[in-house]
Subunit: 459 residues, 2 copies
């Protein structure tokens, strides 16, 4: 069996390694445009923050994978230009020599990823020091810019915008983040969006300013094409040493489209529960692939490494152990560190939930409590919210903000949603406790107790 | 409705507070022998370790609860001597004045807890500086003894013995722990019992010696009844400044037995899924109550605060919202800090699993990996094991040892077991990831991948 894996991010890497484990004889070829094996995209903000200063900066998150030993052929600096589905061949170009050749395949795993988009603001595309962040080289550029800079402007409300903003502020730059409407609107309710802004502003008061409801309308460049100030929608001017502008990413599907594969409504490759595209010999994974919202079954564009890695594993099963595992969809499980805070969510937020279940049919309950028992010296605050469908009691989402244990509580909700549990079933569940490690009554349990009070009182 | 709650540990406290929330009008009376409201038993080892030195030592884990404001009557230093189920009255004695009086009840929550047992070793019962640990006063006594001591002997293989041993060693005492057979045998497989001993010995090499397979056969006392040395089963002598001897706890059911309530095979109060004893007006919770192993349905004596708190919550529902929530049993979810390590388990270990499912019918898979991605400077090792029934693929237990994220991975398994998930379903599940917070492929997922390889390869 000849398997070609096109693209080598976290998804492609996972698919390649997992497939080797499951099929010792498959002829696996990875084809990738980079001149090194792999980098860890979720760690690029830490490069900017200087977290690997003693470890070679961006070099620290590059990874060499022993593909020779694994008997996997890995082609650096090669691009697949065409998939010929009839002849079952791909046309490959060596990016350094421009040499072209063909490779036969039985199966393809398409992991072409995504590309950055720019906000349509004058000066963003043209500015030499207006950065986005997807590639490792970009992280390194921003880090070098930050080392010489005192001020930075960040445009965007996404996790990556906030993460980069916090990393720069923690380095000591004066950072202003412009947020047109509200932060992290895909993952959080409006009150928690506001809470995140308030907490971060209070955490880094000297270096971080988050301007909500205000945007940059122009990035002003000097004669060398370097941004030196921005003009806001309030017609204020703000000087800056560079600009970071994140407008989100889009599925990279050029190759798939050329090959006539079906594209979903979200712009990603359409796949079935085994991640097979409209051509079952071509499997789609990661950012270039459309997934399904696990709760409601609607198409979803995830763009999370978590999801890519997960799909990579399942893809290997589809080829080597067909039918054994499915990819049922994702809850878009999300956790990110902003300064000392851990901020995350799973499943629905109140806006998407009410779209689905109707206004007034979803109960959202939030609590503020401590992550450890209050008598422990290292106890800190944690905010936690759960969403439940009133009629069925089914848990459909959660959001958390705290210093530790946010993932723990979110993962409990995540498994509960995936097991189709009601809030009552989760209230009956057993969890681990030691006062140095967590709370006897978890934040998730405290929140579900509140749900019970609201839903059972009425009876 | 008159409710009397007898005993005020974590279970009794939770029952009392939860009941107040659910029934604003209930006449709630807590009756307890202590002269203060509450202490946190799981935190007593930290008192011994001096973790609250600046916070008043044992005072730090005492808690005052605003019962007046909650309109709950709380009787300190009172003992319930008798339950008259026919007259629906309890006889109460004031421990300070010896005054006796009666109180009427509609419902009783029995939370009489457990009592320490001593190992049958000469000198243990008689020695004035031979300690056990259940009550706050004992923690304080041990702490004071530790402050003056250079050497300590610990007898026992339980979590509390290891926890106290590690706390004393971290204070700088030379500690020798005698373990007759192996540590934590209720929760861990033999290999992990050994691993825990090896890791702790390596972690605190100068102060901690764990002697496995050796026991103390006599604690030698001086003319004042003070232990000053022990004689081991190998006829070696070891000098010590004091001895800690933990032989486990037993359900305190004297009152229940006198009242003619049914006692289970484990020695605890027999209750149904709503925690009702053989008299439905009397509800049993916590250490004095027998629970059920959630996986196999067998009677189980838990003795964990986690379980007591959980039962306390459910007890309140049984009284105020009958039938709404059940206590389905426990997985004996267990986590404990030993020095910097977090050590925990849920559900079956291989010994109990093979007793239930037959030898050779359970697959146990273990991995050693890192808690964070290997490129993160704070990544540390984590050991994780999962147990699966070969025929059905059902997950039935897990064990973990690491510096962080052990609970997170164990709780995922815990919810999966309670949702009756197979290893495949959990492999299909979505979890949260950020490199500063956890691994992209969780230890639990890595272990389940190994399970898949073992179970699917054969096909």
């Amino acid at each position: 069996m000849k398997v070609i894996i096109i693209g080598h991010g976290p998804g492609g890497m996972t698919a390649s390694g997992t497939l080797r484990i499951w099929d010792r004889n498959a002829e696996i070829t990875n084809i990738d445009t980079k001149d090194f094996d792999l980098y860890h995209p979720c760690a690029t903000p830490y490069v900017i923050g200087g977290k690997f200063q003693d470890l070679g900066n961006s070099e620290a998150i590059k990874e060499h994978i022993p593909y020779e030993k694994m008997k996997i052929k890995h082609l650096h600096r090669h691009l697949v230009e065409k998939i010929d589905r009839t002849a079952k061949k791909v046309q490959v170009r060596n990016l350094d020599t421009d040499e072209r050749f063909e490779l036969e395949y039985d199966k393809i795993i398409l992991a072409t990823g995504s590309y950055n988009t720019s906000p349509p603001i004058p000066g963003v595309k043209e500015g030499k020091n207006v950065f986005a962040l997807k590639w490792l080289e970009e992280a390194e550029e921003i880090r070098l810019a930050a080392e010489k800079a005192k001020k930075a402007v960040v445009i965007g409300a996404s996790a990556i915008a906030l993460e980069v903003g916090c990393e720069l502020a923690e380095r000591g730059l004066d950072v202003t983040i412009f947020v047109r409407s509200r932060v992290l609107r895909q993952s959080f309710d409006p009150d928690y969006s506001k809470l995140i802004v308030d907490l971060l502003s209070a955490k880094l008061p000297e270096h971080l300013t988050i301007k909500v409801g205000e945007n940059v309308k122009e990035v002003v460049l000097d004669e060398n094409g370097m941004a030196y100030k921005v003009i806001t929608t309030n017609d204020e001017e703000l000087e800056t040493d560079f600009v970071f502008a994140a407008a989100g990413v889009k599925a990279e599907t050029t190759l798939a489209k050329d090959a006539g594969l079906e594209i979903g409504v979200t712009g990603g490759l359409k796949v079935d529960k085994y991640l097979q595209t409209s051509d079952p010999d071509i499997i789609g994974i990661g950012d270039c692939t459309e997934t399904v919202d696990l709760v409601r079954g609607d198409p979803l564009s995830s763009m999370l490494a978590t999801c890519a890695v997960h799909m990579g594993r399942i893809a290997a099963y589809t080829i080597a152990k067909p039918g054994e595992l499915e990819f049922p969809g994702t809850l878009n499980n999300f956790i990110v560190p902003f300064s000392d805070y851990h901020v995350g969510s799973v499943g629905y937020n109140i806006v998407t939930a009410e779209e689905k279940y109707g206004e007034g049919n979803v109960l959202a309950v939030k609590i503020k409590t401590t992550d450890l028992p209050h008598f422990m010296p290292s106890a800190r605050e944690i905010y936690f919210k759960v969403l439940v469908v009133k009629e069925t009691g089914k848990i459909i989402g959660a959001q958390g903000i705290g210093y530790k244990l946010v993932t723990d509580n979110l993962n409990i909700i995540s498994i509960a949603i995936q097991a189709d549990m009601t809030y009552k079933q989760l209230l009956e569940a057993d969890l681990c406790y030691a006062p140095a490690i967590n709370e006897a009554i978890y934040p998730v349990t405290q929140a579900l107790e509140m749900v019970a009070r609201r839903l059972l009182r009425k009876r």
